[in-house]
């Protein structure tokens, strides 16, 4: 477990370093994830220990949101004054985006299927 965890944290460090060095707006952890992903591609996949460590870290992912999430306390004023805009944006906006995504994917799949049938 410890060597795998060290490897993952080293990619976290690499991501943070790249982010700061290039003053990138992409979060350091995301850059670290992309670098780690490239490593997995080059290494031809992850070994059992790496998978086990990864799934242990991710199993309780929601726990890791709590310290930051409690920070909502600091923004009660914004939530009170802009609550309607926020709830409308999240419900309506997400449903609209969901329906459009479904329709685009359905259309594109149909196009792919007809071209395939055509080529056959």
């Amino acid at each position: 477990m410890l060597p795998s965890l060290t490897l993952i944290i080293l990619f976290q460090l690499a991501g943070t370093f790249v982010q700061q060095h290039f003053n990138s707006p992409i979060p350091g952890a995301v850059i670290g994830m992309i670098l780690f992903f490239l490593y997995l591609c080059l290494a031809g996949g992850s070994n059992e220990k790496l998978q086990e460590t990864g799934s242990r870290l991710l199993k309780h992912l929601p726990l890791l949101f709590i310290p930051a999430g409690v920070g909502i306390l600091v923004y009660t004023e914004e939530l009170r004054t802009q609550g309607i805009a926020i709830v409308a944006s999240l419900t309506l906006g997400s449903l609209i985006a969901f329906v459009i995504t479904l329709l685009i994917f359905k259309k594109l799949t149909a196009i792919q299927n007809t071209t395939r049938a055509h080529n056959d």
Binding site: I8, I9, F11, Q12, G15, P25, P27, G28, A29, V30, G32, M33, F36, F37, L40, S46, L50, G54, S55, L57, L58, H60, L61, P62, L63, L64, F65, I66, P67, A68, G69, V70, G71, I72, L73, Y75, E78, L79, Q82, I84, A85, A88, S89, L90, G93, S94, L95, A97, F98, V99, I100, T101, L102, L103, I104, F105, L108, T109, I111, Q112
Partner: protein, 239 residues
Amino acid sequence: MTELIPTAYSELLTSPVFCIPLTLAAYLIGVKVYSLSGKNTFLQPVVSGIILVMLAISILDIPYERYFKGAEIIHFLLSTATVALAIPLYQNLHYIRATFRPLLLTLLMSGIIACFSAVAIAWLLGASAEIMLSLAPKSITTPFAMGVAESIGGYPPLTAGFVIFTGIVIAVCATPIFKWLKIDDPIIQGASMGMIGHGIATARALELSSKTGAFSALSMGLMGVYTSIFLPYIVRLLK
């Protein structure tokens, strides 16, 4: 309420020795409540966990900044777990071969639509710039979304809440919408759930079928990476 707790203990209450078990206990109670409710989508463990910690620190009169400092190691591990997301993404990637072009093209458009629809509605209803920036990454999984919110000048804690809310909306409404639009392909269903409703909708997708779940997990990962890359640059351009 300071008289409730002798000042001698205030040091202890803001130290990791107290803040870490407080967070763990709140989460474990959240997990218990979730499983006792038969995995009710509205009772996500993280929601109960956050509410319980909020209650505890309000009663004990601990300022949020001092609680966060005490529980910082847990927050640090969030970045570590984000890096570890590469493992399931790599494992799910082979699913993409079945539907490479439609999936990627949909992803490219969906990422922009998800941000734009949320920001446009908030703007119409007079939300502030910071709130709009906190809303923009709401369709990507929390670790990515909070990083993006911080990078573009939103409020990461609010974004965390917005992401969870979005996931619940999609998890609850997905099956009625599939019936309404007459969409029964598990690939289309799963991919759309993952793209807009991230991890919470993925948990729901897994209940529909393992294929739906796999496509949801893959799309969630791709959407997270894609949005984390394009959104900060778009915001930087507009500023």
